[in-house]
């Protein structure tokens, strides 16, 4: 545990709400609009946090507990990532499984909260969420397996650290495939186009947004923050694969991460402005493509 590591976690927790704003701004500019300010989500969160809440009579404690779990699992997952480029705040052999399963725990509770309302719309969103996740999870693990094979380590700090930088020259094609695959997983986990469209206004076409229809006030603020944080965490994973920062001093590494996250958010904005979201039954094919890419990376490593 190092101070730079803790500072890095704090900074990522702080800038997470910036990323959706950046993506939206890029999209607005590319489509000829001025768009909302990049820090809009901060204002939204502050406004929601000050409000009261309306609860459905159908709901139980799960509905109110889920937002807490989503944010908590995000924060704990952040502890495992080597955000300053050196090492995670908590790190142990096999923590990559803990990272992925923490995100899954958050998802499980949000899905249960959606079902707690008894709303057909939220049920639909929950059903789509677990479907998307079931296709994104193997892709994520294939990418992690490729990194394990490339570095011979079993912790996130290990597979994203110095050995990865050494592996790049020898295994560039495989690692590039892994990075692209992780980016596709990011689009799914962050509920972005072409998997989901955060800007849609029709409940029937939403995934994540429709799951949180009934939440209001501070609960909604927690949910919005939790999903922004998830975007930042998987984004940090993508940045760490493309730009291993173990050789850099922690402060520079952190600066590279922040810059990288902004670039990733910008690319998400570009993707959103050049393509429409996929028809829902095409989403599994899209994510299977991500798995196939990562699997190709794994096979390249295995035969090498």
């Amino acid at each position: 545990m190092s101070w730079s590591g803790i500072a890095a976690v704090a900074i990522v927790l702080f800038i997470a709400p910036l990323l959706p704003g950046l993506a939206a701004k890029t999209k607005a500019r590319l489509t000829g609009r001025r768009g909302a300010p990049v820090h809009q989500l901060y204002w939204d969160l502050a406004r929601l946090w000050r409000k009261g809440a309306v609860y459905s009579r159908t709901t139980t404690w799960i509905f109110r507990f889920a937002p807490v779990v989503l944010v908590l699992t995000g924060v704990l997952a952040a502890l495992f990532l080597p955000l300053d480029g050196q090492r995670g705040v908590v790190t142990f052999s096999g923590d990559l499984v803990a990272f992925a399963y923490l995100l899954a725990l958050g998802r499980f509770f949000v899905v249960l909260a959606a079902l707690d309302t008894g709303s057909s719309f939220e049920g639909m969103g929950a059903s789509r969420e677990v479907t998307v996740a079931a296709f994104a999870e193997p892709a994520l693990f294939l990418a992690l397996v490729a990194l394990v094979l490339a570095t011979g380590r079993l912790s996130l700090t290990g597979i994203l650290g110095a050995p990865l930088a050494h592996a790049w020259p020898a295994a560039a094609p495989a690692l590039a495939m892994v990075a692209v695959s992780l980016f596709l997983v990011l689009l799914a986990e962050g509920s972005r186009v072409p998997v989901d469209d955060p800007a849609t206004h029709l409940e029937l076409t939403m995934i994540h947004e429709v799951m949180v229809l009934d939440h209001s006030g501070p609960d909604l603020a927690l949910l919005l923050y939790g999903s922004a944080l998830k975007l930042a965490l998987v984004g940090a994973l993508v940045v760490a694969v493309i730009a291993p920062r173990a050789a850099l001093p922690p402060l520079v590494g952190l600066a590279v991460l922040v810059l990288g996250l902004m670039v990733v958010a910008g690319i998400i904005g570009v993707v959103e402005s050049v393509m429409a979201r996929l028809r829902l039954d095409r989403v599994p094919q899209f994510l299977t493509a991500a798995s196939v890419l990562a699997a190709l990376g794994v096979i390249l490593m295995l035969v090498a």
């Binding site: 609860y55 709901t59 507990f65 704990l76 008894g118 049920g123 929950a126 996740a133 693990f141 394990v148």
Partner: protein, 658 residues
């Protein structure tokens, strides 16, 4: 061993007293509960002593029967499974007292309690037998007693049918086991496990036939795909506490058998490791996919047993490969993951079956699309069921995460073993299993406990008595304990894992050292999760206390008269996933203008076994004329058979003689 047999005797006495005192229901319940609970507590003592590193002397009975002495003993593997048998056995038996009480009028409840105690005793005998004869006898007792436990509600035709399919399945498996030991005995002096182990180097082709028959025989009991076809029906039809024992313990005897085989024969051939690994992957993915398609809560849970057997086999397979390719740490972790997941699955699956039993008792239905809103009506059952759900999905901070993590660790460790590197491809498979299990338990929780009641039956449901909640919460507590302090289970599991490979202290300490820091990390994570979730909840309440809070109807996008029927159903929830996996999911979709129905079909039972069965039956009709009930022709058959036998003997003596 004295303590162990004393405990088993107490369990049996409990069963007998339930039968003897059946006229005084409350006295019988107390006697049964106390004696079974006490017996299990006594019998588990030697097991715990062995798991802590101690030694318990064997018991040798000189029996005047073929096959040599009957030996009973407790080694680490037996001890680990004994703990599973006795904890889950006690919880199921105690739960059964209240669960069966309402049926006392019209069904043989006391006999069912007696059968339960006999079943626990035979399970304990299976895992302690050290010779093929007592092993097979205990095995067969276990299988046949389970049949009688399953057909408790024998007035229902589908229960009788499920029982019959189970009986055929289990006997086919036993047939393979008898063949296994008969073949093996050719190379050994007698049928004690020691003699068989000593003879194992003489089995041709590295014991190929023994290992193949083992997969078939023990695979039937474990319910791995495609030998699982008897399982969902039987576990769905049995009374819920029997389903808990069947899913939690009885099918695990197949896993015990496979592990015992590895101990006796030694490192299995490489193809066997790959076969078990692939069967694990297939069982895991198909099991959870088929579970997702179910409408019946208990059948759904039964398919999840197939899934979890798959996860256990992943550990077993990578353990066997590690043994073969001389990677002791991978081998120990693989076997440790397998036995640990066996224990964990026994805990949370029996918890879930007991929860399903509570729902069934409270509402009278197992159909998920007729339930809903039970979280308000049965808050304690829901809490216990939720703990079981988080555990079975493999999420922190509960025990399912710990054992899946050990299996992951073994699979990822294969990256360092050149010959077994491809095994790492099972990692994304395990991730897929986890994600599908999450979808499935979101469906169960949502359809059964959350939202609004979908039928008057669900509306009428109320909390079950404390005597049923007690065993559920005891199991939930065990799940939480292993999740928060994983060392208490992982360290004994590693001892068992090392004993399976015959690896001894060195690799055991190496494996323990390899996972030690990680276990502390997992423990820290679990504590942080629990503490911070509590703190977060408290903070949120503090903030909201000063804010206006209002209650209203669920937002239905402006539509004001949403009825419970308009909720998303369990079938709709699973539809997108099942559609994406259409050919493998085996779901028959029926779509009309105003309705959407899905009918789950078991790809093996409905598409393969039953058609084959039908063909066999029709073939058998053709042979019927030879049995028409006329005495004369039967005498003729006898004469013919005798003549053939004499002829054979004459030819044989001629051939062998000088």
């Amino acid at each position: 061993m004295t303590l162990f047999f004393l405990g088993i005797a107490s369990v049996l006495l409990g069963g007998l007293s339930a039968l003897a005192l059946r006229r005084q229901a409350s006295l019988a319940a107390i006697a049964f509960g106390v004696l079974v609970g006490l017996g299990c507590a006594l019998a588990v003592v030697p097991a715990i002593r062995v798991l802590a590193g101690g030694v318990v002397p064997d018991l040798r009975l000189s029996a005047a029967v073929p096959g040599g002495d009957w030996v009973f003993g407790v080694d680490p593997l037996s001890a680990f499974f004994l703990v599973i048998v006795l904890t889950v056995g006690a919880a199921s038996a105690l739960y059964g007292i209240s669960y069966l009480a309402p049926e006392a009028e019209h069904r043989p409840v006391a006999a069912s309690h007696l059968l339960m105690s006999l079943e626990i005793a035979s399970l304990a005998m299976v895992v302690t037998a050290r010779a093929a004869m007592p092993f097979l006898i205990a095995w067969e007792c276990m299988a046949v007693l389970a049949y009688f436990l399953i057909v408790f509600e024998s007035d229902h035709a589908e229960v009788r049918r499920a029982g019959l399919v189970y009986l055929i399945g289990t006997h086919t498996g036993t047939l393979a086991l008898i063949a296994l030991f008969a073949f093996w005995a050719q190379f050994a002096g007698n049928l004690s496990f020691d003699a068989l182990a000593a003879a194992s180097p003489r089995i041709p082709a590295e014991g190929a036939l023994v290992f193949a028959l083992g997969v078939a025989g023990f695979g039937f009991k474990a319910g791995l795909v495609p030998l699982h076809f008897w399982l969902p029906g039987a576990h769905g039809a049995a009374p819920s506490h029997v389903s808990a024992l069947m899913s939690g313990v009885v099918i695990k005897m197949g896993i015990y058998g496979l592990l015992r085989l590895v101990i006796l024969v030694g490192a299995p051939p490489a193809w066997w490791g790959w076969l078990v690994l692939s069967l694990g992957l297939i069982s895991g993915v198909l099991g959870v996919l088929w579970a997702l398609a179910q409408h019946d809560l208990k059948r759904l849970l039964a398919y999840h047993s197939v899934e979890n057997i798959g996860i256990i086999l992943l550990g077993l397979g990578i353990g066997a490969l590690g043994l073969r390719y001389h990677a002791p740490v991978v081998a120990v972790l693989g076997f440790a993951g397998a036995v640990l997941h066996t224990l964990n699955h026994a805990l949370f699956k029996s918890l879930l079956f007991l929860g399903a039993g509570a729902v069934l008792r409270a509402t009278g239905t197992r159909l998920m699309d007729r339930l809903g809103g039970l979280a308000r009506r049965m808050p304690f059952t829901w809490t216990a069921f939720l703990i079981g759900s988080v555990a079975i999905v493999g999420l922190p901070p509960l025990n399912g995460f710990v054992s899946e993590w050990v299996v992951y660790q073994a699979l990822l460790g294969s990256a360092q073993v050149p010959a077994a590197r491809a095994a790492i491809l099972a990692v994304p498979g395990l991730a897929l299993i986890g994600a599908l299990a999450l979808a499935c338990f979101a469906k169960v929780g949502g359809a059964v406990f959350l939202g609004r009641p979908r039928s008057p039956a669900a509306e009428a449901g109320g909390e079950v008595p404390r005597s049923m909640l007690g065993p559920m919460f005891a199991l939930a507590l065990a799940c939480a304990a292993i999740g928060v302090a994983p060392m208490i289970a992982v360290v004994p599991a590693i001892r068992v894992g090392a004993s399976i490979g015959g690896l001894g202290g060195g690799p055991m300490r190496a494996a323990a050292a390899a996972v030690g820091p990680s276990l502390l990390g997992i423990s820290l994570l679990a504590v942080l999760l629990v503490v911070l979730a509590g703190a977060g909840w408290w903070l949120r309440e503090l903030v909201l206390r000063r804010r206006p809070r209002a209650w209203s109807d669920t937002w239905a996008c402006g539509y004001a008269f949403a009825t419970p029927r308009m909720q998303y159903t369990a079938a709709s929830f699973a539809a997108p996933l099942l559609h994406a996996y259409a050919p493998a999911a085996g779901v028959q979709v029926e779509r009309t203008a105003g309705a959407f129905h899905t009918h789950p079909k078991d790809l093996v039972l409905d598409r393969l076994v039953l058609p084959l069965w039908e063909r066999l039956r029709r073939g058998a009709f053709r042979a019927r004329p030879i049995q028409h009930g006329r005495l004369g022709s039967y005498l003729l058959y006898l004469l013919g058979a005798l003549l053939l036998l004499l002829l054979y003997l004459a030819v044989r003596v001629e051939g062998v003689g000088p």
